[in-house]
Symmetry: C2
Subunit: 357 residues, 2 copies
């Protein structure tokens, strides 16, 4: 069911906090600072202080635009004009398409044909050319590399590139500033994890704090390759490529650039089932008035299950994205609310917060 992958890291010198700071200066004006939200009634129910970093309110609806700008702004003019390629199930696609349009670069996006229709159509509307492949049978890296070599374009990796990681890490800088501004010292930061770019970038900002918050990665139970890799101490891949509702988190294994950063900083993996993700989407809608996509709600789903561990603590949860079709979203939060109601009288005290739904 699993295989251990050995790859050599081709990433050059180790990434550091300074790279994240440089990225923040570079992308300022192109992205927005997203709010750190709090819901007093939910805190009371949970028994810990939950701060939600609403990256679903970022331009293009996810944090991905940070890494995309940090990448494209570092291209030479010649590279930029020739164009870029991105392989993505959706959020990275829209981010690269939007950043390319803003910066006058051409963009080709390689997407699985089972990506949500809304993500494909929005990517096209941002002016990008979309090339689709069959998600289960074709290797997306092969398809993308073929476009790169055929057309001489520059690949913008969705996570396993230091410029991507540094860009995503600017989320962590904002978390630091926003918690410091409120005189808060977060004990933990829970972050959605596909290939680990966002989690690794945020982990780089740990040294800003007097005591670095513990970083937890959040994955679907069926795609918990980072959780298993962190527990094992080496990269473990999953053979599955599709089947989770978290389409944004379909990377088959931790990145060779992201894993050492997380492992070296003692990050720990968490995971949640689809039903728990839908319940978290319902909570995000009713307690924070946010519409999250499944992958954007998985960190919240994982955090809601750790009430014992987090009791009395201050926990930042990153709501990483919100790109989901309206009809799918409505059905998911309906199922999520029903799951919460059904669990209220069961032995799962976790989701007993029916009065908030």
């Amino acid at each position: 069911m699993t295989l251990v992958v050995e790859r050599n890291c081709e990433c050059g010198p180790a990434l550091a906090l300074e790279d994240v700071r440089a990225a923040a200066a570079r992308i300022a004006g192109h992205v927005v600072a997203t709010p750190l939200l709090e819901a007093p009634l939910l805190n009371e129910e949970l028994g810990f202080r939950l701060l939600l970093k609403a990256e679903c309110l970022q331009l293009t609806g996810s944090f991905k635009v940070r890494g995309a700008f940090n990448q494209i702004l570092q291209l030479s003019e010649q590279e930029r004009l020739r164009g870029v390629v991105a392989l993505s199930s959706g959020n990275h696609a829209q981010a690269v398409a939007y950043a390319s349009k803003t910066l006058d670069a051409a963009a080709v996006i390689v997407m699985p044909d089972d990506a949500p229709a809304v993500k494909i159509s929005r990517t096209r509307r941002f002016g990008a050319e979309v090339v689709t492949y069959h998600g289960e049978s074709e290797d997306r890296e092969f398809v993308a590399r073929k476009v790169v070599s055929d057309r001489g374009l520059r690949l913008i990796h969705p996570y396993d590139d230091p410029r991507t990681i540094a860009g995503q890490g600017t989320v962590g800088l904002e978390i630091y500033e926003q918690t410091a501004h409120r005189n808060l010292a977060p004990d933990a930061i829970v972050v959605a994890c596909g290939g680990g770019g966002l989690a690794a970038g945020i982990a780089l900002t740990g040294e800003l704090y007097a005591q670095a918050p513990q970083v937890f990665t959040a994955e679907p139970v069926s795609f918990n390759d980072m959780q298993r890799s962190l527990a094992w101490g080496a990269i473990v891949a999953s053979e599955r490529r599709s089947g989770s509702i978290c389409d944004a988190l379909a990377a088959a294994s931790p990145g060779v650039a992201t894993f050492p950063i997380l492992h070296g900083r003692h990050a720990e993996g968490l995971s949640a089932a689809d039903a728990e993700v839908e319940a978290a989407m319902a909570f995000a809608a009713c307690c924070f008035n946010l519409a999250l996509e499944p992958g954007g709600a998985i960190a919240l789903a994982c955090a809601l299950q750790e009430r014992d561990r987090f009791a009395g603590k201050t926990v930042v949860v990153v709501a990483s994205g919100g790109n989901v079709g309206t009809e799918d979203f409505a059905k998911m939060i309906q199922r999520g609310a029903a799951y919460v109601q059904a669990a209220a009288n069961s032995e799962r005290p976790l989701f007993g917060m029916t009065a908030l739904i």
Copy 2:
């Protein structure tokens, strides 16, 4: 169907920008500055620049907490300890309950028995005593005044009080700062209107701009008393008390304190039907990743219908609240999305933006 109400204003000296500034200083630290969001693809479709002021992300899920804090912070210690009364269909209720709890005041909330269950239960969870009345047959002011006289409590009016208006006006200060920061000069601000507290408060901030943005009030078509009053030049009341999905906007007539402020500054009324409100809720979910309640989406519904008038302009739309039950919310955005799809091929180019849903 309508009656003209003549009342004397008992509000003392005219409210001014300075009162809003004083309110902002007073409530700082108790409320959050909400973001001004933008969706590039939606702008492109609309043909104007739409900036969404996300007050649904305010503590307790609506702007109402601003006025509530500005009121309770000005009570004497004796008044505060004796307690306050609020009459509200929900958002003002939660706001007064939350502010009272934070400031150690007792709170009694008078609510219609047909208010959304989620609003009643959340008000109770904030520690307030809830007294209900029959929304269609009983006069809420009478019920509230009886509680005031029986118990010697202080009434916190939801809109028709200068301290409430000044508190809500702090939304306008933030809009000014956030647009100035981006070098934008908004041409218009569209604001939900029940009794008009928020709209009047924002109108007071118009003089901050080189040219004051035109203020538009937004109401359900069946409760457009402010629209008709502004057109007529005097306060016109509606006889209906319930029946709109916008439970937050059930005030029967403009306030005697709010109307002169809006009328004197040449505000204009807009209105939208329930189906258009649900469509706006669907757009808020898919384009901004926000969950709005109907009353919180009505300004967006009205703005989306004014594409001709707003062509090429910069328009701030206030998304005033997000307190709605998850099941109701899911059904409303499903109907809203279906309405948009159905309208796509009709002669209503307004909601032809199906690719974004």
